[in-house]
């Protein structure tokens, strides 16, 4: 059995969380609230020491002491000022000012997404679907069937996502086939996850029986 107080605390909290499986109870409530508190505390520390200090305080300080150019000061001041606009919520008269930082962040996110979604999702997936057909002469019969099935699957599933066409007749049939591909896909992805999740549980059980109780080696 472990003599390390840390292991005992960890084991106790592990059991508290597992107790939720039976039903909600004081032990779970205790662990849950502690978890929330500690994780927020952790977030605060990281925000201060890995966010504010290196990215806001240091550049501002360095540009005043002359270690960094003066323009750095003003460049850093922009996001600081934008951040302060969040506090406008506390003054109802000016609460609309909060829209500024939000608009900037949302605009950035949208602009960032457009070309990158095109590249990583559409271009790569298209290329991946087409490529096998380019080397079709060197493929085995099984691989050719796979490539054809892949094409059919992509076409049918994509048809399912058409919104402005009524899904009946040919479109209906194809999109129905798309649903079949979707369901097989979801089922297999589900089944394929069991292994990883069980590994996580094995690791916790190993911790309890091994590191804590010392029953298994």
């Amino acid at each position: 059995m472990s003599t390390d107080i840390g292991v005992w605390i960890a084991a106790f909290l592990t059991l508290c969380i597992f107790s939720f499986l039976y039903k909600d109870n004081p032990f779970y409530k205790f662990a849950e609230h502690l978890f929330v508190g500690v994780s927020v505390g952790y977030g605060i520390v990281l925000t201060i020491h890995q966010g504010i200090i290196p990215f806001a305080w240091q550049p501002l300080k360095n540009s005043i002491t002359g270690e960094a150019p003066l323009w750095r000061f003003f460049v850093t001041l922009i996001p600081v000022g934008v951040g302060f606009l969040f506090f406008s919520r506390l003054m109802p008269r000016y609460s609309w000012l909060i829209r500024y930082p939000i608009a900037i962040l949302i605009g950035m996110g949208a602009g960032f997404a457009i070309p990158r979604a095109m590249e990583t999702s559409i271009f790569e997936q298209m290329n991946g679907t087409l490529r096998p057909f380019g080397v079709i002469n060197s493929l085995s019969a099984g691989e050719i069937i796979g490539a054809v099935l892949m094409l059919i699957g992509v076409v049918c599933t994509l048809t399912y996502f058409f919104f402005s066409v009524e899904h009946k007749g040919i479109v209906g049939g194809i999109s129905k086939l798309g649903i079949i591909f979707l369901m097989i896909g979801f089922g297999s992805a589900f089944g394929n996850t069991v292994m990883g999740r069980v590994s996580l549980l094995i690791q916790r059980v190993d911790f309890l029986l091994g590191d804590w109780l010392g029953i298994v080696g």
Binding site: I17, F18, G83, G107, A110, Q125, T157
Partner: protein
């Protein structure tokens, strides 16, 4: 000022980030990393407001002695201890690695994190038991695909197969792999392509100011 300026800001920042993607110059890369750093500077201000809501929630609970109020004290204890220990330790020469801060993190936060994650082993079993019923054709396919993949994944799957059948000793794992590589991948590809078309369309609506619900209502 109240509606037009945010829309203009949104447009300018959106267009800039889109164009940035195509420009490999030094200035463009610097701009990107500068702007990405902004998130780190703006974030803390929002965090202050966010934590204020959390504190208010639990403070009122304690004040009103509402149900489960003693647990709200636990939130405060955890929050204050962690924040104070870490912040103070961060200003020493040690920084935030090692020391009591990491000890608390490793012995309190990490085990709870790992255990919450491990609950999934239970939930995945209960969800399968409850939902995998062959009610319709679609549900049947879902369930059969899941069962075949699970059987192929089970380390003992191939062994059981070898006991029953003399042909193709690794059939279960081959079937599993085939399902994952073919129907599964094709539907995922289509989902991903659909998502990005939708995401690009939504992004464009936002940049052009057609979609502005995030501004809230009113003037």
């Amino acid at each position: 000022m109240r509606r037009q300026v945010p829309l203009v800001l949104c447009f300018l920042f959106g267009i800039t980030m889109t164009i940035q993607y195509y420009v490999p110059s030094r200035f463009s890369e610097d701009l990107k990393s500068e702007v990405l750093n902004w998130g780190l500077i703006i974030g803390p201000f929002a965090l202050v407001l966010a934590i204020a809501t959390l504190v208010r929630l639990h403070y009122t609970r304690i004040q009103r002695r509402s149900e489960n109020w003693p647990y709200s004290i636990v939130v405060f204890v955890g929050l204050i201890v962690m924040a104070v220990v870490g912040t103070v330790q961060g200003f020493t020469s040690q920084g935030i690695s090692g020391g009591p801060f990491e000890w608390i993190f490793n012995n309190i936060q990490v085990p709870m994190d790992a255990t919450m994650f491990a609950l999934l082993a239970f939930f995945i079993a209960s969800a399968a038991y409850r939902a995998f019923r062959a009610r319709t054709l679609e549900a049947t396919l879902l369930l059969v695909a899941a069962l075949l993949v699970m059987f192929g994944n089970a380390p003992i799957g191939d062994l059981i197969w070898q006991k029953i059948s003399p042909v193709r000793p690794n059939l279960p794992s081959e079937v599993r792999q085939w399902i994952l590589d073919n129907p599964n991948l094709s539907s995922r590809r289509a989902i991903i392509m659909g998502i990005s078309l939708g995401a690009i369309s939504q992004s464009l609506r936002i940049i052009l100011g057609i979609e502005r619900s995030y501004l809230g209502g009113g003037e």
